[in-house]
């Protein structure tokens, strides 16, 4: 595999020191400073405090332990006792639960895109298996024609790749994750043996990653996502060299967004899931989760969007603030650019390119920008910055939108995130309207370019709406029977999924729900 080449050349870090450079104590100190800088997310997201210290560094908590170990002075002990008395006399269990609920709202849940009801219904399961069987026959026939050289380029796309991806996506849908993974990897292997299929390699790698991601094998998913990005970058360079585009050519900028940003957003979601695994239980440590890795992918996606939008603004004499956000840059573009037709003909594209100096707006770009805003808002929420999250989401929802162009189901996920943001901010009435809006969009999408993706929102995700509604009720009254029932039923829907996972993936998957279980325990 291409992405392992460097590993083959260089032994793992554990068996060899990182630096073979001559010893430079000053550089070591700079490294120490950088590590300290990154040890506290607050240093990167806001101004430093006067002392540069986090509000509650881990060391401080250890310090308390040492104090206990060596014995505190009478004064310190008395202070602790007084503080404990004050704590228990001024708070009650309901107040503590509010912190738990706000913490739960900050942590996104990762579910396999799979409906366990399908497996429980023999007729439906059989129908899906027949569908998969038909796709396999179509795929196998296309592979044969490809090998004997009679498959047209269109056939490669439609009969070979489309049918093959249909096979593993449908296998994933019915919970046959191992087989889905094998099918996806087999496609990558075929591509690797046939250089003419290389243009499809990045998509196939991304699909392998998604299968791993859905069974919560995050390390495996990351490996394939990174390989996909690497392939995309190679593809970009090849395309630019072939067309003699510089990096600021409108098409080069557009392809960078279209091809790379979806993977960046996937990696951001992956890092959020990983951060949730390493974050202590929310009830003992409310506050920012270690989501900096997720932000790194948002920063990268934002940089690509910014480069494109600045490119579009520049030659068209559009003024903008130097610190303008990506959304602000977008809204500074002419109305025609912001709201292009749902689909554009070749002549419309040429007309736009003439008017906008090589740039042509398109509805897919709008959907992608809106997806970016959603992902950025999700990261901001995980970092406890509810104000920033709300702004990012609101800006995204102002971007003209065509459901026909959206397979990521923004119509459902945007109101869901709005509800989470409101809960995390401690507003427990507001989420109900957002949850109601999301509930209206749980069916299949209005129209989809690909029927394989025209799936309703999976039941586990729908159960999330009920869980959040229950959490809002429990925030007002920890014994609210309706709230407890809603959370309990959601937990049952979630844990039903885990039966299809094994080993560590299963335990990691179930770990997501521990704090939800505590809520009704």
């Amino acid at each position: 595999m291409d992405e392992r080449h460097d590993h083959d050349i260089d032994p793992p870090e554990q068996s060899r020191p990182e630096s073979e450079d001559p010893f430079d104590p000053h550089l070591c100190v700079i490294e120490g400073l950088v590590m300290t800088y990154y040890a506290d997310p607050a240093r990167r997201t806001g101004p430093l405090t006067l002392t540069g210290e986090p509000v509650e560094p881990p060391a401080k908590r250890r310090l308390l332990n040492i104090k206990w170990m060596f014995g505190l002075s009478g004064l310190a002990l008395a202070a602790c006792i007084t503080a404990a008395v004050l704590l228990f006399s001024t708070s009650d269990a309901a107040f503590a639960d509010v912190d738990v609920i706000r913490g739960l709202a900050r942590q996104p849940l990762v579910f396999p895109n799979f409906d366990p009801a399908v497996r429980a219904d023999p007729n439906e399961y059989q129908r899906r298996m027949v569908e998969i069987h038909d796709l396999r026959i179509r795929r196998d026939d296309a592979v044969h024609r490809f090998k004997v050289g009679t498959l047209t380029p269109r056939g490669i796309n439609d009969d070979l790749l489309h049918a093959w991806s249909g096979v593993y996506r449908r296998l994933r849908d019915i919970g046959e994750f191992d087989e889905a993974g094998r099918e996806a990897r087999a496609l990558v292997a075929l591509i690797d043996r046939n250089p003419s299929l290389i243009p499809y390699r990045a998509v196939a790698l991304n699909d392998v990653a998604l299968v791993a991601y859905h069974i919560r094998d995050l390390n495996e998913a990351e490996k394939w996502f990174l390989a996909s990005i690497q392939q995309r970058e190679i593809d970009q360079q090849t395309l630019r060299a072939k067309n003699r585009w510089d990096e600021f050519h409108p098409d080069a900028l557009l392809f960078a967004i279209r091809d790379l940003i979806p993977i960046c957003l996937n990696l951001s979601a992956l890092e959020l899931a990983r951060a949730a695994e390493t974050t202590p239980p929310v009830k003992t440590k409310p506050g920012p989760a270690p989501v900096s890795a997720a932000r790194q992918w948002i920063v990268r996606a934002e940089a690509d969007f910014r480069k494109y939008l600045l490119g579009a603004c520049g030659p068209n004499s559009i003024s903008h603030s130097p610190n303008a956000s990506v959304a602000e840059l977008f809204f500074s573009l002419p109305p025609d650019f912001q709201s292009p037709p749902e689909s554009t003909t070749d002549s419309q594209v040429r007309e736009f390119q003439t008017r906008f100096h090589g740039f042509s707006p398109n509805s897919t770009l709008n959907v992608l920008l809106r997806r970016f805003q959603l992902a950025a808002a999700t990261v901001a929420l995980a970092e406890s910055d509810t104000a920033a999250a709300a702004k990012l989401l609101a800006d995204g929802r102002r971007i003209p939108y065509w459901p026909i162009r959206d397979e990521s189901r923004l119509d459902f996920h945007e109101p869901l995130l709005a509800a989470r943001i409101a809960i995390a901010a401690g507003r427990f009435d507001e989420p109900l309207q957002h949850l109601e809006e999301a509930a209206q969009h749980t069916g299949p999408p209005v129209v989809s370019n690909d029927v394989a993706n025209a799936r309703p929102i999976p039941p586990a995700r729908v159960a999330e709406l009920a869980a959040l509604r229950g959490a809002c009720l429990l925030a007002k009254d920890e014994n609210d029977p309706e709230g407890r029932r809603l959370v309990k039923e959601s937990l049952e829907a979630w844990t039903a999924l885990s039966k299809n996972l094994t080993g560590k993936n299963r335990s990691e998957f179930e770990k997501q729900f521990e704090n939800w279980e505590d809520l009704i325990r």
């Binding site: 450079d21 100190v29 300290t36």
Partner: protein
């Protein structure tokens, strides 16, 4: 009302703890310490400093005293490591001493010194090339090793290390400029 000596000590210690961690992190890559091992070492220094707190002369500065304790603990640690896993050892006591000296030169020795250095670093990172910034982030924020970074950035691991060194050199010069220091060459 008389001062509570223990409380005073811990207040003073806490003011300097982040500096101590920064110092240990400075030795980390040379020494190949994991974050957990850094914490463990910091804990040992914390305990030793507490045991020796009576030896601290209040008329003198706390930081050099604490660094002196750290040097002794590190020396013992290196000696023990030398016995048990000699082949893995990558730092000598002299090198650690040199890092301590460089630390005192770069991070101003007053209560807000570390905050000033980190503020300078914050500004300097913003001036780095976007690719270098990403490299730094992957290495120190996400703790990726060079082959992993190479895979993410489509570079050879050796090139990653070379570029990382250049970025650190840039940061050193920039921080020195911001703190109105002359960069040391060594």
């Amino acid at each position: 009302m008389s001062r509570d000596p223990d409380r005073w000590y811990w207040t003073l210690y806490h003011e300097h703890e982040e500096r101590l961690l920064t110092l240990l992190r400075a030795a980390a890559s040379r020494w190949r310490l994991t974050p957990e091992e850094i914490d463990e070492l910091a804990q040992q220094i914390r305990v030793r400093a507490w045991e020796r707190r009576d030896t601290f002369d209040e008329s003198r500065r706390f930081q050099p005293w604490l660094v002196g304790i750290a040097k002794n603990v590190v020396r013992e640690h290196v000696r023990a490591a030398g016995v048990h896993r000699k082949t893995e050892l990558r730092i000598t006591p002299d090198e650690f001493d040199a890092i301590c000296d460089a630390h005192l030169q770069i991070v101003p020795d007053h209560p807000n010194g570390l905050a000033e250095a980190l503020t300078a670093l914050h500004g300097c990172l913003a001036h780095l090339d976007a690719n270098d910034r990403r490299l730094i982030s992957l290495k120190y924020e996400q703790n990726k090793d060079s082959p992993q970074i190479g895979a993410a950035l489509a570079m050879q691991a050796a090139a990653v290390r070379q570029r990382l060194r250049r970025a650190l050199l840039q940061l050193r010069a920039c921080i020195a400029g911001k703190l109105e220091m002359e960069p040391s060459h060594g």
